[in-house]
């Protein structure tokens, strides 16, 4: 029997202009542990600059932190990229920065503090993190996969910035590992409205922009260890790995079309 890991793979930090400034690394870790999470993904808009600080803040705690990013495609679709280690996440960030035009106006969009584990401000990110990259959703998914990351279409139940709302259906051949639903949505609701999603893997996350939202949406994974390759197996239902949305042992969020993708 594989151990179950409760995961919230989509959490913002204070770096995201729309997130609460109280979203510091240690506060996030403490709230995640209180919410009985075993694994979190740090996904700020178009940047991973605070992911390392959250990893640092979780050192010595029983919490696996996956560095990641919520990228905005040119179609205004949000895609999560999650990595096992900080290095590929930063490599991905360097690529994204080359394709992210514009400068932030903190008065309009919000402040974008880069902080250390102790929530001390090291700098302010000057890029327009609230903006869209010049990359297509395919380029983003392929780029994440090329760096061995997990590519997840964010909050597909939401019309704004969701893959299905923006593009009407999952583009043929798009190699996403999963579709994400928000805290109060279910994969069944999504499949009813978009029957083409029937074979996809699903996760649920909080998309937390404030501390109290952390863990409000979660996925339970049966894994050998909390790592991206294991999550990918779970999303395909391979080798006994499983992804379960809702309380453990509810509907298995397994995708049938994994071999094709």
């Amino acid at each position: 029997m594989l151990p179950m890991f409760k995961a919230d793979l989509h959490i913002h930090t204070c770096l995201s202009p729309c997130a609460d400034l109280s979203m510091g690394p240690r506060a996030i870790v403490e709230q995640a542990v209180r919410s009985r999470l075993d694994m979190i993904g740090v996904c700020d808009h178009n940047s991973s600059e605070n992911a390392g600080a959250v990893i640092e803040a979780a050192r010595g705690r029983k919490l696996r932190v996956l560095p990641g990013m919520e990228v905005t495609s040119k179609e205004e679709v949000h895609v999560l990229g999650l990595f096992n280690e900080l290095e590929p996440a930063l490599e991905w960030q360097a690529f994204i920065y080359q394709h992210l035009p514009g400068e932030n106006d903190p008065e309009v969009f919000g402040w974008q503090p880069v902080v250390n584990a102790e929530h001390e401000v090291l700098a302010f990110n000057a890029r327009l993190l609230a903006g869209a990259t010049e990359l297509s959703v395919e380029q983003i998914v392929d780029g994440i996969r090329h760096l061995d990351g997990l590519a997840i279409a964010a909050h597909v139940d939401r019309e704004a910035f969701g893959l299905l709302g923006q593009l009407g259906f999952v583009p043929e051949g798009l190699r996403v590992d999963a579709l994400e639903v928000s805290a109060h949505a279910t994969p069944e609701q999504v499949k009813r409205r978009y029957p083409g999603c029937a074979g996809m893997g699903f996760v649920r996350s909080s998309d937390a922009h404030a501390l109290e939202e952390i863990g409000k949406g979660a996925t339970f994974f049966a894994l050998r260890e909390p790592a991206t390759a294991e999550i990918r197996k779970a999303l395909c239902g391979q080798e006994g790995r499983r992804a379960v949305i809702g309380e453990a042992d509810a509907d298995v969020a397994r995708g049938a079309g994994c071999e094709m993708r």
Binding site: E75, E76, S136, V137, E159, L164, G165, Q166, L167, G168, F169, P171
Partner: protein, 114 residues
């Protein structure tokens, strides 16, 4: 009015050549949310959008739209153009922004509600 006549009158670029220009335009719709076009587009509409992803061709084909016009000088992705040719769907382009193009389409007598 045919797609070809609309294209001529407004000086739209024919990105897929003469393909489908004989189609009849029965109305118009403007949106950049493809799910919204699936819900509200009607057969025979000319669709005004800035989205260039190839899914626009699938949506236009599904809804039997008359044509798609890309605004703001946006160029279709290569696979979008290929899909349009395959589906024989007229894809048009203009340097005008969506608001301006919708106004000019309206002036030719095309309506958004029927």
């Amino acid at each position: 009015m045919t797609v070809g006549e609309v294209a001529e009158r407004l000086g739209l670029e024919k990105l897929t050549g003469n393909e489908g220009l004989e189609r009849q335009v029965k109305g118009g719709y403007a949106s950049d949310l493809l799910s919204d076009v699936i819900a509200h587009g009607e057969a025979g509409d000319v669709w005004v959008t800035l989205q260039t992803h190839r899914n626009i061709i699938a949506v236009a084909t599904l809804k039997e739209l008359a044509a798609v016009v890309l605004v703001n000088g946006r160029t279709p992705d290569a696979d979008t153009l290929e899909a349009a040719r395959r589906e024989r769907l007229p894809l048009l382009g203009t340097a005008l922004p969506a608001f301006e193009l919708a106004g000019r389409l309206y002036q030719t007598g095309i309506r958004g509600t029927r």
